[in-house]
């Protein structure tokens, strides 16, 4: 049985990574050519890892489900990317960035990992600038910064509201350069359906060619998952509609522990649901809270147009409740505060499920031009969707499922509990604790890919220089391929009446109602029953149009939804187990008198790591979190 050893290096916090790095084994250039690495996913984490590994001389095989690596959902990140450059001379430092992340994550992340993420953040910015990423600059030609939620310094680098796009195109260009050099082979339009484990080590994957339907075997000496998060369990979320948790779920079933699955961030500022056919929710960047003020009417059910509600009848509830951070409180706090107001009957819009985000004062003070320069594309996006002009009337916003802090459990080397299987970026659980601060996701994904994984994976691969190419005709490949084919045959054979979308919507409803922003024991227990029923119904009544041997989007969706239902069960089990509130995980039973999250450090200062068992309930392992450098405190933004 796998054991939980986080492998955190000894020594002072600020020296752990550099000391560890110096001690890691290397693979010499001649031997790197003999080693294959598979990378799944081409977002910031996957593309940066692929290019860095290619530059080092490994043979890299990179997979994505889209037609080209440039479409990965990192492209949609809007607001920015953090680094501890202290360009604003406002007292920022690596330690402060580390502290903000630990506190923002409500003291449920590993100190050593978070410190390292902060430490490499400056390299990340340097590298992006070298790759030609056009971050915003000041008139002197130097890089500009803005502020984000949960912090009191300006450390966020940005490219209008398209920072993710610009960073992704930067990593994508470095990836393509390695394709040019023959170091990386791209396999687009492939879905990972299983991971092949041979003698306890990850040695390859089974993928489906999404154009021909062919089931393919690919082997390597190590496999890296950079497959993002699973926020689409809610059906409606800010994620791309094809984002999914199937790769992580396949890894889980092959022995990789799942860390903190219930830690899911609900982003406070998304455009609210407009109709029953809605397929996704569009995010409005957190950066808008730099200048926008959040409010609802002071009177319940006030149906007047926002411009007719005088200043004294508006409740700027974030400024009222959290004077120190005001509109820039962390995401989990802002989301719950919006839900609280709407549940109490103060919400606005037709459904009463939204609050205002108002730029009136900022436009008055800074002028329309200045606001347009900062947020032009976001305002345009909002106008296209809602038909309302945010320069003239406040935006209506509501929380939406967004980011998963939970993910595959990894040690300090970013390796899962399956040797040779690594997880980077959002797909691992490691750096954001129970809540992620804005603009730290791009930072972590890129740091993992360019500056951390290439060192740690080499240490692992140092044992493989004499192994030779891994054949794909072994019994293990054979068996994994057969399992995948059987599953596809099984889902096609049901020929029921309900489409994958119908099941996905049903799943989303269960998860949003019982495992969303607010959770309690009764609801979670109910959700577990409902999920079991849904799973049963799915395998009796799923209808997949078309066949296996062709481009079949219904089959892709069906396989993903089947995994989502199982993953959702694990999420609820984890949420049920953790009876405290922390960060985005809010248990009604554990709150302060003012309705803030109440952590229970004596009982729950651990990472929950779940182990899959065949035909039995998953088993919980605990990684105790030791805080040597920060003092555990009640997180206050007042």
């Amino acid at each position: 049985m796998a054991t939980l050893n986080a492998k955190i290096p000894e020594g002072p916090l600020s020296e752990k990574w550099s000391k560890h790095k110096s001690g890691l084994r290397l693979v010499n250039p001649a031997n790197k050519k003999k080693i294959d690495i598979i990378v799944i996913g081409t977002g910031l984490a996957g593309a940066s890892a692929s290019s860095a590994l290619g530059e080092m001389g490994y043979n890299v095989k990179t997979f994505c489900y889209q037609d080209t690596p440039r479409r990965a959902h990192s492209v949609a990140a809007q607001g920015g990317i953090n680094a501890a450059k202290n360009y604003k001379n406002d007292g920022d430092s690596v330690y402060r960035l580390f502290y903000d992340m630990i506190k923002g994550g409500d003291f449920r992340a590993r100190e050593a990992n978070v410190y390292r993420a902060a430490e490499v953040s400056n390299n990340v910015i340097d590298h992006y600038v070298a790759l030609g990423v056009p971050f915003a600059r000041d008139y002197g030609g130097y890089l500009d910064n803005r502020s984000f939620g949960g912090v009191q310094v300006s450390r966020t680098f940005y490219a209008k509201g398209q920072t993710g796009q610009q960073c992704l195109l930067g990593t994508y260009s470095s990836l393509l350069r390695q394709v040019n050099k023959g170091r990386v082979t791209m396999y687009p339009r492939r879905d990972l359906l299983d991971i092949v484990v041979i003698n306890g080590k990850a040695r390859g994957i089974i993928a489906r060619n999404l154009v021909t339907g062919e089931i393919e075997r690919h082997s390597a000496h190590a496999v890296v998952l950079a497959t993002g998060g699973y926020g689409t369990i809610y059906y409606l979320s800010t994620l791309a509609v094809n984002s999914n948790g199937s790769a992580a779920w396949a890894a889980f079933k092959r022995g990789a522990f799942f860390g903190n699955p219930s830690f899911i961030q609900i982003h406070p500022t998304s455009i609210p649901v407009l109709n029953e056919f809605q397929s996704k929710l569009t995010l409005m960047s957190e950066s808008l809270r730099n200048d926008g003020r959040v409010w609802v009417p002071k009177a319940q059910g006030d149906k007047r147009a926002p411009k007719d509600i005088p200043e004294e009848e508006r409740d700027y509830y974030l400024e009222r409740r959290y004077p120190a951070f005001g509109n820039l409180v962390p995401r989990d706090v802002a989301s719950r505060a919006a839900k609280e107001r709407c549940d109490a009957g103060y919400g606005v819009g037709a459904s009463g499920l939204s609050v205002y985000l108002d730029f009136k004062d900022a436009i008055k003070k800074q002028g329309k031009k200045a606001i347009e320069n900062k947020y032009g594309n976001l305002f345009e996006m909002y106008e296209k969707i809602s038909g309302e002009n945010p320069y003239e009337t406040p935006m209506k916003i509501y929380p939406a499922g967004h980011y998963t802090m939970g993910g595959l459990w990894v040690d300090y080397n970013l390796m899962t509990t399956v040797p040779g299987l690594f997880a980077i970026g959002e797909s691992n659980f490691s750096d954001h604790g129970a809540n992620r601060l804005g603009a730290s996701s791009l930072m972590q994904c890129t740091g993992d890919g360019y500056f951390i994984l290439p060192y740690t994976i080499s240490d692992y691969l140092a044992d493989d220089i004499r192994t030779g190419a891994i054949p794909t005709n072994s019994h293990e490949f054979e068996a994994a391929e057969q399992e995948v084919k059987d599953k596809i045959a099984r889902i096609l054979a049901v020929k029921g009446k309900q489409t994958p979308m119908t099941f996905h919507k049903k799943l989303g409803k269960i998860m949003w109602n019982y495992a969303g922003m607010v959770r309690n024991e009764e609801g979670l227990k109910k959700a577990l029953v409902l999920l079991e029923e849904l799973k049963e119904e799915f395998w009796k009544d799923i209808m997949i149009a078309g066949t296996a041997n062709e481009l079949n989007q219904e089959l892709e969706k069906g396989l993903r939804v089947a995994d989502f239902i199982e993953l959702s069960k694990l999420i609820c089990m984890d949420a049920l187990n953790r009876k405290e509130s922390c960060g985005a995980h809010f248990r009604e039973e554990s709150q302060t008198e003012n309705g803030e999250a109440r952590r229970q450090d004596d009982l729950y200062a651990y990472v929950s790591a779940w182990e899959y068992k065949d035909n039995a309930e998953p088993v919980l392992h605990k990684e105790e979190l030791k805080f040597e450098y920060v003092e555990l405190k009640e997180r206050s933004y007042k």
Partner: protein, 248 residues
């Protein structure tokens, strides 16, 4: 709303395609265009028919997956809008909407409305990058970049690689796509170093793949959902000429 649809159906790249007609009742004006397509597919599946394959992912106008020729225009009738950002309120009740895949010999149809745009990747593989190995970058602020140039580089880098420019062009020219990338890097000191090689390699690859020439009709600019202007093409021509002179 009630709408009529005329949609290109094609089983696979070898099959011969044809238009099929569908009618759809109870379409809400609030729906996104692609949600209308979801709605159609749901209906088709329930009737035991094969759903229409179309490409989409982020559904917020940034990934570049969605394509579609809608009523004769790439990404439909609205300026600076991708297909996934279209809402049904932009169409009329009772309207017939014609939906085709992007038309270009360089983007062959894979199935129904899905085309193969991998030629774009191939152009960028030939030179659409700055050769900076991980670990070699200097401190980010060590090279100041004129804000004006940096902002312009951003405008060029806003390209989402959707291929509307090629689909709109009667010659299937990829000049706007190539120009946007070349201009972005040319405007930055980091990208100047290998500007000569880059432009030559990208243009050579573009020609090799069978993209047509530019004949200055500006259809690409008119249809670009991200507002990339043909000024980029002028810049590209200048860079290319310069590269040829320097090289010879």
């Amino acid at each position: 709303m009630n709408i009529k649809l005329k949609i290109w159906r094609q089983k696979n790249s070898q099959a011969k395609g044809k238009f099929e007609k569908y009618t759809l009742d109870n379409v809400s004006p609030e729906m996104a265009f692609l949600e209308m397509m979801d709605f159609l597919n749901q209906k088709l599946i329930e009737e035991g028919k094969e759903p229409v394959a179309f490409e989409h992912d982020c559904r917020e106008g940034i990934c570049g997956c969605c394509s579609l020729y809608i009523n004769g225009q790439p990404h439909g009738p609205r300026e600076r809008t991708t297909t996934c950002e279209l809402r049904m309120r932009f169409f009329k009740d009772g309207e017939t909407i014609t939906i085709e895949p992007f038309r270009s010999r360089v983007f062959p149809v894979i199935k129904d409305l899905i085309v193969d745009r991998s030629a774009f990747d191939k152009i960028l593989i030939a030179g659409g990058f700055i050769s900076a190995d991980t670990g070699s970058a200097p401190e980010a602020n060590s090279i100041p970049v004129c804000k004006h140039h940096s902002d312009k580089a951003f405008d060029m880098a806003a390209c989402i690689g959707c291929g509307a420019c090629v689909a709109a062009c009667k010659n299937s020219s990829a000049m706007l796509f190539v120009a946007a990338k070349v201009t972005q890097f040319t405007l930055l000191p980091q990208g100047r170093v290998e500007a000569v090689e880059r432009v030559k390699n990208m243009i050579a690859k573009m020609d090799e793949l069978g993209f047509g020439s530019c004949s200055n009709t500006y259809a690409c600019e008119a249809e670009c959902p991200k507002g990339i202007t043909v000024a980029a093409i002028a810049k590209l021509n200048r860079e290319f000429l310069h590269a040829k002179i320097v090289a010879e």
